[in-house]
């Protein structure tokens, strides 16, 4: 074998191995960093709803709850809009408009997270505080359940606002994936359906969606994975409170936001820092699972 070949092949294989080591190292380092917290609090760490730096009692319940609620709500907002965009781009838009509009939507994904944070804080929060929250709070006052779900002073920040910003951030990812999988449907399938007199929507519902169902779910999971770990945008608008509120207008925290906000006040080697790293470990495990599912669902279709 040629000596150059051996060196080059060795380098390539080494680099491939490096990626595996990198993932392993991230998991091990985060777990090791959070070890003190896991030992101190045990499994109760997951269900303790307290974050008290004075008494040194830390729990993951509030940020885990915040992460899951904001991400699920973001999906509820983002999925219909993303589907609409993907449907429009693949079936409805005139051919000349598809590329520019598609590019514009993709550029939404390129805008840095901190810009979304500032935009959310200076544009969305005032709108929520003045025009959305007060009428909703008034209108639902006295109706059981809904009253509690939309209660509280209209600060503009809070869980719902964070979910809206997250939704905006994941729309381009979900929409682009849906568009790409919709385009994998063989034209002859769609043409046959049009041929028997189906409307565009009927073709979508009866041909495109059944054909791409699995990959569409994969695209949604990709959006979920993105939403779970989003930091800067959420940090600006979440309200930063370490207790669980039943109101969607109430403040909260997500794992990513509490790490970003509390980290500067944690000393190296403190139990607080260890708890933050433990939270990081939990977030990594959750998003790894979600992203892995997304990839398994997406890969066969987009690779074909």
């Amino acid at each position: 074998m040629h000596i150059g070949d051996a060196v080059f092949a060795g380098l390539a294989r080494f680099s491939g191995g490096f990626v595996l080591v990198l993932l392993g190292a991230i998991i091990v380092v985060l777990f090791y960093g959070g070890f003190a917290a896991f030992v101190q609090f045990g499994p109760l760490f997951l269900v303790t709803a307290s974050w008290d730096p004075v008494k040194e009692v830390f729990g993951a319940a509030v940020p885990v709850y915040g992460t899951i609620v904001t991400s699920i709500l973001a999906l509820l907002f983002a999925v219909p809009v993303s589907f609409g965009i993907a449907f429009y781009l693949t079936e409805l838009a005139p051919v000349w408009a598809r590329r520019p509009i598609g590019t514009a939507i993709e550029l939404l994904a390129a805008v840095p997270s901190i810009i979304y944070g500032m935009w959310g804080f200076f544009v969305i929060v005032p709108v929520m505080a003045q025009y959305i929250q007060p009428p909703v709070i008034d209108a639902l006052d006295g109706i059981p359940v809904l009253e509690d779900l939309f209660a509280g002073p209209p600060f503009g920040t809070g869980i719902l606002t964070a979910s809206l910003i997250l939704a905006v951030m994941i729309i381009p990812f979900i929409a682009a994936t849906m568009r790409d999988v919709f385009e994998t449907v063989p034209p002859v399938f769609k043409e046959s359906a049009y041929g028997v007199g189906c409307t565009t929507w009927e073709v979508m519902r009866s041909i495109v969606i059944p054909y791409t169902r699995v990959s569409v779910v994969g695209g949604i999971m990709l959006g979920l994975g993105r939403a779970l770990g989003e930091t800067m945008a959420v940090t600006f608008v979440i309200g930063n409170t370490n207790r669980i509120t039943t109101s969607l207008f109430g403040p909260g925290n997500t794992i990513a936001s509490i790490v970003a906000l509390e980290f500067p006040e944690s000393h190296a080697g403190s139990l607080k820092l260890s708890s933050l790293l433990a939270l990081g470990f939990i977030l990594f495990v959750i998003s790894f699972i979600v992203l892995a599912i997304s990839r398994v669902l997406l890969r066969p279709r987009l690779k074909a």
Binding site: D5, F18, V19, L108, P112, I114, T231
Partner: protein, 298 residues
């Protein structure tokens, strides 16, 4: 057409009664129209959001642009400071991060496209790289903090570069592998037939053929890390003073924007908007340029 056959209820056959047929046709047409309008609305929402973000940035940012922004350092509120050290710090960290991450990403992509055919390890590497592509960037920051900040007793520019490099790698891997796979096998075989060693085939033929695509990937990765804030909070931290040392804390545009935007001082908030405008224009410009390049290359 098995797909329609499995949903017999969705596409009703012709009705015997003409009035029923007309009603049904109208209802189907109406449903179709309503959904199409909703889809146009959804797209309009998406475009409006982008427009709103760009408009907000221009509206708040343009007024604050002055020579001071580019020639003066970050200073205490009220003393007419600029963003010079933040801009330089961002450029240094982005470039060094890309310089560290790109060769690794390139080699991993090469491994996946040229050396891993069907192997278990190859599939595992591809899987892990895909997951890292979307992994929360704040956790990369925590990882590098534990690895390169805590053991060495302080925040440093190089730690920031390392964090950004970790983010660069999977992006470069993805595009490199995809682009190498587009190179026709016949081209490789022609070169092999002349007795060219494999590494020369890859470097001289495959890389050259895939150059535009690979460069696009590198540009996109630079655009992505240039706006990253979360991983820098725990690594390079930020620095209000002039410092080019990679061993000391280093300022960066996104972290400075974060600190200034949350402050109570009007001139700091104004500078944050200017910084936000600069970074967004830069990132979007790189993205558009990369897209044009890829289109030209195909």
């Amino acid at each position: 057409m098995s797909a329609t056959a499995t949903h017999p209820g969705t596409v009703p056959g012709p009705a015997k009664d003409q009035t029923v047929a007309h009603k049904l046709g109208r209802r189907r047409g109406r449903t179709n129209l309503i959904i199409q309008v909703l889809c146009v609305l959804a797209t309009a929402i998406g475009l409006l959001l982008l427009a709103s973000i760009l408009f907000t940035l221009l509206w708040r940012g343009v007024g604050g642009i002055s020579l001071n922004v580019f020639t003066r350092m970050t200073l205490p509120p009220g003393s007419n400071g600029g963003l010079l050290n933040a801009i330089i710090g961002s450029i240094i960290q982005t470039m060094v991060g890309a310089l560290i991450g790109t060769p690794i990403g390139l080699m991993v992509g090469t491994y996946l496209a040229e050396y891993s055919a069907g192997s278990m390890i190859g599939n595992a590497v591809r899987f892990v790289s895909d997951v890292l592509l979307s992994a929360p960037s704040i956790l990369i920051g925590l990882f590098i903090y534990e690895l390169a900040v805590q053991p060495f007793g302080g925040f440093s520019g190089i730690a920031g570069c390392l964090a950004l490099a970790v983010i660069v790698i999977p992006i470069v891997v993805r595009t490199t592998e995809d682009m190498l796979r587009l190179i026709p096998v016949a081209l490789r075989e022609a070169a092999f037939a002349l007795g060219t060693p494999k590494w020369k085939v890859i470097v001289l033929i495959c890389y050259r053929g895939a150059r535009d695509g690979i460069v696009t990937g590198i540009l996109l990765s630079i655009a992505r890390v240039a706006g990253e804030t979360a991983p820098l909070l725990f690594t390079s931290l930020g620095n209000l003073n002039w410092s080019l040392s990679l061993a000391a804390p280093m300022a960066s545009l996104p972290v400075t924007i974060y600190q200034y935007a949350g402050s109570a001082f009007d001139d700091w908030v104004q500078l944050a908007w200017v910084g936000a405008l600069l970074i967004t224009v830069g990132v979007l410009a790189i993205n558009v340029a990369a897209r044009f390049m890829l289109r030209g290359g195909r």
